[in-house]
Amino acid sequence: MPQLNPAPWFAIMVFSWLVFLAVLPPKVLAHYFPNDPTPQSVKKSKSETWTWPWL
């Protein structure tokens, strides 16, 4: 089975972790969700319920 060939193992490990640590987290952390929803435990909601005022 060619996957068991030990020659590229170290290179693959190093390179994949390099990509995983350097490239991905900036792309993940760039997604910012500014909405701060009210937690379930709180009695009073931070916002009012939305209604369609023009209808």
Partner: protein, 227 residues
């Protein structure tokens, strides 16, 4: 004959450039960073929806201490699902068929969860080695069994992903070869084989997504036990 079918998993090189390097480095151009706009384009919004859903799904049952892992597990999920799905396209190489890659992620991350558990709450972490309600006579045996199952976790994690993807790609190659060879001789059988190939490809798409999800889910479960 079977040995040559495994050739597709050999780390390919082209003019001395290992193509696994390209397969690992290039897919991330598909993930754009959100701009400064209030509303982004559809692709970025879709990716954001997926990330939001995934983080909620994984971290809702987890205590607050484990939430530090959100960026790591989200990155891992993106990593695995992108590599798996892109590998299903023709003429691509799937890095996650390489045991080296999967073990490179499974072992350190599993070890991290175990070390976190042992350092912060050693009694609780060791308590997982003995399920509740065990008959007294079985306690020594069960501790041995549970320890073995603890240490087999990284192996299972890595090999599960490798084996699923390798088997899928191998099947696709086998059935595609069969359809291709049968076409001049028995076209009707070749068409049936092609239909089978189509269904198999649909299955492999599902497997690609599910295996990435299972990998990250299991890691999050190991974290939940220990955090």
């Amino acid at each position: 004959m079977t040995l040559s079918l495994f050739d597709q998993f050999m780390s390919p090189t082209l003019l001395g450039v290992p193509l696994i390097g390209l397969a690992l480095a290039l897919p991330w151009v598909l993930f754009f960073q959100p701009g400064a706009r209030w509303m982004n384009n559809r692709l970025v919004t879709l990716q954001a929806v997926f990330m939001n859903w995934f983080v909620k799904q994984i971290f809702q049952p987890m205590s607050l201490g484990g939430h530090k892992w959100a960026a790591l597990l989200m990155s891992l999920m993106l990593f695995l699902i992108t590599l798996n799905m892109l590998g299903l396209l023709p003429y691509t190489f799937t890095p996650t068929t390489q045991l080296s890659l999967n073990m490179a992620f499974a072992v350190p991350l599993w070890l991290a969860t175990v070390i976190i558990g042992m350092r912060n709450q050693p009694t609780h972490a060791l308590g997982h080695l003995l399920p509740e309600g065990t008959p007294t006579a079985l306690i020594p045996v069960l501790i041995v069994i549970e320890t073995i199952s603890l240490f087999i976790r990284p192996l299972a994690l890595g090999v599960r992903l490798t084996a699923n993807l390798t088997a899928g790609h191998l099947l696709i190659q086998l059935i595609a070869t069969a359809a291709f060879v049968l076409f001049p001789m028995m076209p009707s059988v070749a068409i049936l084989t092609s239909i089978l190939l189509f269904l198999l490809t649909l299955l492999e798409i599902a497997v690609a997504m599910i295996q990435a999800y299972v990998f990250v889910l299991l890691l999050s479960l190991y974290l939940q036990e220990n955090v």
